[in-house]
């Protein structure tokens, strides 16, 4: 099962992208607890593109795709903005005192924490970030049963 959509890299598109993800997960019968990490990853990576991907008044185009295999859901976010590898950002200090706390880097840190695999590639004029995680369908047969 696969689906893709394309939107301009502006914050106002976040809601439409989230809906796209939720619709896909509902059709695939994934439970909400499974969907949540992908919603967060989508917001973090898309908002990175919104903030960094459209210099000098040219709006980046962002393509989001979802692919569900037997065990994994993969979310890929591609954009045609300047080369930018969010995985190269330094990890935030999540034990710093209040005064020293910053939000920068926290989004990518979440993505790394919540996904099983994350990778970045620059292919031609496009950035591609792929994130995947093992998922369990709510209609899947319980472990140990023998369907049919």
């Amino acid at each position: 099962m696969e689906s893709r959509t394309s939107v301009p890299g502006e914050a106002a598109q976040l809601q439409a992208l989230t809906q796209f993800l939720q619709d896909f997960c509902a059709t695939a019968k994934l439970p909400p607890a499974t969907t949540l990490p992908f919603e967060i990853a989508l917001e973090e990576i898309f908002m990175n593109v919104v903030m960094h991907g459209s210099p000098a008044g040219r709006l980046a185009q962002v393509e989001v795709s979802l692919a569900l295999s037997d065990d994994d859901l993969t979310l890929a976010v591609e954009d045609d903005g300047p080369a930018f590898d969010p995985l190269a950002l330094p990890a935030p200090d999540v034990s710093a005192p209040l005064e020293a706390r910053r939000i920068g880097g926290l989004g990518v840190y979440f993505v790394r924490q919540m996904m099983d695999a994350v990778s970045y590639a620059r292919t031609g004029p496009r950035n591609q970030l792929r994130m995947s995680k093992r998922v369990t369908r709510s209609d899947a047969a319980p472990a140990g049963t023998n369907p049919g």
Binding site: T18, I40, E43, V94
Partner: protein, 98 residues
């Protein structure tokens, strides 16, 4: 959908999804309060790093006045996000009863 308003006891009540597009409204609401203290998150379903910034900025402001935010009734999945970020060390956070 996201909503922020003040309850009868002066507590701030947030509900729905605090995503990146709602943060300005949430910050503006909190900034307009002299000294917010209790924030009831029983209805908050979703937060990511942009939303955490709202709580961080509010906590820095209130702390500078000698106070501190209390986040109460925080749902499990949202509580996990606060904890991933280590915000449980810089904010008073109480999880909702299951």
């Amino acid at each position: 959908m996201f909503d922020i308003h003040q309850g009868p006891a002066g507590e701030v009540i947030m509900s729905g999804r605090l995503d990146a597009t709602q943060c300005d409204a949430a910050l503006k609401f909190l900034d307009a309060l002299a000294r917010p203290e209790v924030i009831d998150l029983a209805g908050l379903e979703y937060v990511a790093s942009a939303g955490l910034r709202v709580f961080l900025l509010a906590q820095k402001r209130v702390k500078a006045m000698g106070g501190g935010l209390k986040l109460v009734n925080v749902r499990g999945p949202v509580h996990d996000i606060f904890r991933y970020a280590g915000f449980d060390q810089v904010l008073d956070i109480t999880r909702a009863a299951e």
